[in-house]
């Protein structure tokens, strides 16, 4: 058998002998494989180097989900009212109507049973042609009563449900949070001029689209420390006795609150970095107020606005009139005129009492100012004017989904916590000592070891949908269906913080695209290489015959040609890699500063040394491609060689 050195010597003569053809093959095949190398380098640079670099330093790199429990929905299987439930609901409905009737009589109020029944109807037909399929009406008192009873029963097993879910989804940690929503109050933010934007009779002066950065504190998400830690300012000076609600707003909301105009999408990387640093510097001192008006105060304000618009003739008939709330003062409307007699007052008071008792409306007007202090900054919310790169990056980076985070442990220490809680109370709850009385919107933060487990947990949402029929007709993957059969989920989970699971899906999609494109290019390159090598081999038939005559074994000849194929493939791989690296470098030089600026903003970084790169060299992956090219080289050599080696050498030797 000939040595490797000798087969190398002979293989090199093949390369020299068909120089032009070999060079052309290397060039064309290299271009094909360069596309593959390039895709892998950029893919790795983007997903494996840059994104984790930013995620680790800034946004919580924890794999978390935020989940709500299916308490109420689970009561109605497939979202529908069962026959048994209908019987109960009918009973509660009737009881409620009777109670209303009785109370109206007591208070001397007129009562329209038909109207009251319609108003409190606990269910309605899903579709006109399916009158037997009933859906519950969430706001109906009978439904609320049924749900409340059910939740009270389920309270006992809540901890067990959490344990079960933790076990099923392999969560490593669970923490509680709360979703506060101002349900009975309207909230008005004080602007830069110290004015609240209460409704007025003036026609809107604003022209064009409103600024989408305006924050809303109607909703607050109370989050545990592990969920907010990544966003908290390092040296914030918030104190519990300040009576300021600690809050974390998204970076664009903070930008707005600081009175900074929106940066253009075309702003240079330098401008963007400067703006980010500016916001970070100023945001620590950001304090703002909001005025909470209850429904009574809002109604009085509306009445005052109507009154102001009336003609003096009409105004004469109005017995009770209010002045609209001044825009610089968070207070209830002041009475301007009151000509009511004792009977009028009694009837109005009784009516308000009735509404309070049965519909949870308050009796007295209320206006309360709450002050907030920004203690941390969240990644930006969705910006409808953003470009494709920004939206993709933001989608991968994750955001707070428009939520405002309130650090839960800090909030619990707040001196005026109960007053603040009251602003977010459900209408029927009056005495608030326990936060759980505020609302039943508990949320749970589950932490996982890997993004894959997050994805698994999110996949289970489909089970919930399947079980409760929230989305009928949704196609469910087989393996999830199997999992769903074993387990009835009690939670509906969403990504929290980093979009670990989404990132995984996007990465997988990109990987598949690269794989398919790569396979196509590799196939083309294989055909080209096979063509050339095949030609070289068939051109060398006589030479092969001579080698045989000299005493070369078949294997020696195979070895020589395979070495030739390997060298050709090796050179192709090297050129392709070099070319890909070159193009990736050019691209990186061109786009990395812009991407860094975008990522700085989207990840809301504090460390400005972080750089986005489009170059990621995954040795394993690149090695696999090189190996694939070498295998292609071997296959491209092997196939024509097999044909050639089987030929009778004497036929090839004679010039016949």
């Amino acid at each position: 058998m000939i040595s490797v050195k000798n087969s190398l010597t002979l293989a090199l003569t093949k390369l020299k002998a068909r120089k032009i053809r070999n060079i052309l093959t290397v060039v064309i095949a290299s271009l094909m494989f360069a596309v593959l190398f390039f895709a892998v380098i950029v893919f790795e640079g983007f997903f494996a180097v840059s994104l984790p670099r930013f995620a680790n330093e800034t946004l919580s790199s924890k794999n978390m989900t935020v989940a709500t429990m299916y308490d109420a929905i689970s009561l109605f299987k497939n979202g529908k009212v069962s026959n048994e439930q209908k019987v109960v609901l009918d009973r509660y409905w009737n009881e409620d109507i009777l109670a209303r009737q009785r109370r109206s009589k007591e208070l001397g109020l007129p009562f329209d049973e038909k109207a009251a029944r319609k108003e409190t109807q606990p269910y309605e037909a899903y579709e006109e042609d399916r009158p037997n399929e009933l859906w519950p009406v969430d706001s109906a008192p009978a439904v609320k009563r049924l749900v409340k009873e059910q939740v009270a029963v389920e309270q006992e097993t809540r901890e067990q449900k959490i344990k079960k879910y933790v076990k099923n989804t392999k969560a490593v940690k669970v923490s509680k949070g709360y979703q506060l929503r101002a349900q009975s109050r309207q909230v008005f933010l004080k602007n830069q001029n110290g004015e609240y934007a209460f409704p007025t009779n003036k026609k809107s002066e604003r022209k064009g689209r409103p600024d989408d950065r305006v924050p809303s504190v109607e909703s607050l998400l109370l989050v545990p420390q592990e969920a907010y830690q990544a966003f908290l300012f390092n040296n914030n000076d918030w104190k519990a006795e300040s009576k300021r609600v600690p809050i974390m707003l998204s970076i664009n909301k903070v930008e707005y609150m600081l009175g900074l105009p929106k940066l253009s999408q075309d702003a240079s990387p330098v401008e963007k970095s400067k703006r980010l640093q500016d916001i970070q510097k100023k945001s620590k001192d950001l304090i703002f107020s909001a005025c909470y008006l209850n429904s009574v105060a809002m109604n009085q304000h509306s009445d005052a606005l109507s009154y102001a618009k009336m003609t003096p003739v009409l105004q004469k008939d109005i017995k009770l009139a209010y002045a609209p709330i001044a825009s610089n003062n968070c207070s209830v409307p002041q009475i301007m005129k009151d000509t009511r007699d004792a009977e009028d007052r009694k009837m109005e008071n009784n009516s308000a009492l009735f509404e309070h008792e049965f519909n949870g409306l308050e009796i007295q007007p209320e206006a309360q100012e709450v002050t907030f202090q920004v203690v941390g900054m969240l990644p930006p919310d969705r910006d409808y004017s953003e470009g494709l790169v920004d939206s993709t990056l933001r989608m991968l980076a994750g955001s707070a989904d428009g939520e405002n985070y309130v650090p839960m442990d800090m909030f619990m220490k707040l001196e005026n916590r109960l007053d603040v809680q009251k602003m977010y109370a459900k209408p029927e709850v009056n005495n608030l000592e326990n936060i759980e009385e505020v609302t039943d919107s508990r949320v749970f933060f589950f932490e996982y070891k890997t993004p894959e487990l997050v994805k698994d947990a999110l996949d289970l949402n489909v089970c919930a949908n399947m079980h409760y029929g929230v989305f009928e007709g949704e196609k469910i993957p087989k393996e999830i269906e199997v999992r769903c059969k074993k387990y009835k989920p009690e939670f509906f989970a969403s990504s929290f913080g980093s979009r670990a699971a989404d990132l995984l899906s996007v990465k997988e999609t990109f990987r598949q695209i690269i794989l398919i494109v790569g396979a196509v290019f590799a196939a083309i390159a294989t055909i080209i290489m096979m063509g050339t090598i095949g030609r070289v081999i068939s051109d060398s038939r006589r030479e092969t015959a001579v080698f045989r005559a000299i005493g070369f074994k078949r294997f020696d000849i195979i070895k020589t040609y395979l070495t030739y194929g390997l060298i050709l493939a090796g050179v192709t791989a090297a050129v392709a890699f070099g070319l890909a690296l070159l193009v990736a470098n050019i691209l990186n030089t061109q786009f990395a500063p812009m991407l860094t600026a975008k990522a700085n903003w989207i990840y809301c970084v504090r460390n400005f040394d972080l750089k986005f790169t489009l170059i990621g060299l995954n040795g394993e992956l690149l090695g696999m491609i090189v190996l694939a090219i070498l295998v292609i080289g071997l296959v491209a050599t092997g196939l024509p060689l097999t044909r050639n080696i089987r030929r009778n050498p004497i036929r090839d030797m004679r010039d016949e």
Binding site: L10, T13, A17, A549, I550, F552, I650, D655
Partner: protein
């Protein structure tokens, strides 16, 4: 003497037709004349043949028809003999040569080389046999275009993994024998046809084969170079004691051999 007359007749015809006749051609003719004048080598009585061919047959299938290329051919070749196998195109001489060199297997019959029937050897053993016992020379030389003459000559050494130094020495020795000492570092494209064939002969002799098999070795050469190659064969036989079997359709070349075997329709005449 008849051969000589034929040769001179040929030269006269060429001269008459005004086709050539330069000094070098005359030299070649003179050297051929000299070669023809030399006494033919005759092996001593009792010497064992280096190759015995017994009842050798080769049948091909050409579509539906079976073609008998070689029909019961038997002969012996003795050490140091130069044997020419001649015949018209299609007479079966090349088929016979390939079987003798172990490149093709006979349908029946025996080829005994040193008492071993090479017709029965496996492909692997045949490769070894070819490498060690046989040297091949072809009409088109088949030198590796991007290997130097020294490297080309030493190609057979690649198989038996000869040490570099020994390989170098052997290459130099053979280059000297074929008169190409000055050209060891040259590439084939820098050599003339005759030089290339001499290099090919050196390559064939590298592993000191017992038998040198030449398939139309002068088919691609002019008369001067042909004469030189034939002269070289004589020299090789004398210097290395090699037995040489030449296949040629050129009677002038065949006549220079010690013995001429003529084939016709697959049979020896």
């Amino acid at each position: 003497m008849e051969d000589r007359k034929e040769l001179l007749g040929k030269v006269w015809r060429l001269y008459k037709n005004n086709e050539l006749l330069f000094e070098r051609d005359l030299k070649a003719i003179r050297s051929m004349e000299e070669m023809l004048a030399r006494p033919k080598y005759k092996p001593e009585a009792g010497v064992k043949p280096v190759m015995e061919v017994k009842e050798l047959c080769k049948k091909y299938k050409n579509g539906k028809n079976a073609v008998e290329a070689v029909k019961k051919v038997s002969f012996e070749v003795y050490p140091k003999e130069i044997v020419a196998i001649t015949g018209t195109s299609g007479s079966g001489k090349s088929t016979l040569l390939h079987m003798l060199g172990g490149l093709d297997k006979p349908t029946s019959g025996e080829i005994l080389v040193d008492g071993v029937n090479i017709a029965k050897l496996s492909d692997r053993k045949l490769s070894i046999f070819r490498n060690q016992k046989i040297g091949f020379v072809f009409q088109f030389f088949y030198l590796q275009p991007f290997l130097t003459l020294a490297q080309n000559v030493a190609v057979p050494a690649m198989i038996n993994k000869m040490k570099t130094r020994a390989r170098k020495e052997r290459s130099e020795e053979l280059a000297e024998a074929v008169g190409l000492s000055e050209r060891l570092g040259h590439l084939p494209k820098e050599l003339s046809g005759g030089q290339m064939q001499r290099a090919a002969i050196a390559r064939a002799l590298f592993n000191q084969p017992k038998i040198l098999i030449a398939d139309e070795p002068t088919g691609n050469l002019d008369s001067k170079n042909s004469a030189m190659i034939l002269d070289l064969f004589q020299k090789v036989r004398e210097q290395f004691g090699t037995t040489i079997i030449i296949v040629t359709h050129d009677d002038d070349i065949a006549n220079l051999a010690d013995r001429k075997l003529t084939m016709h329709d697959g049979e020896l005449l």
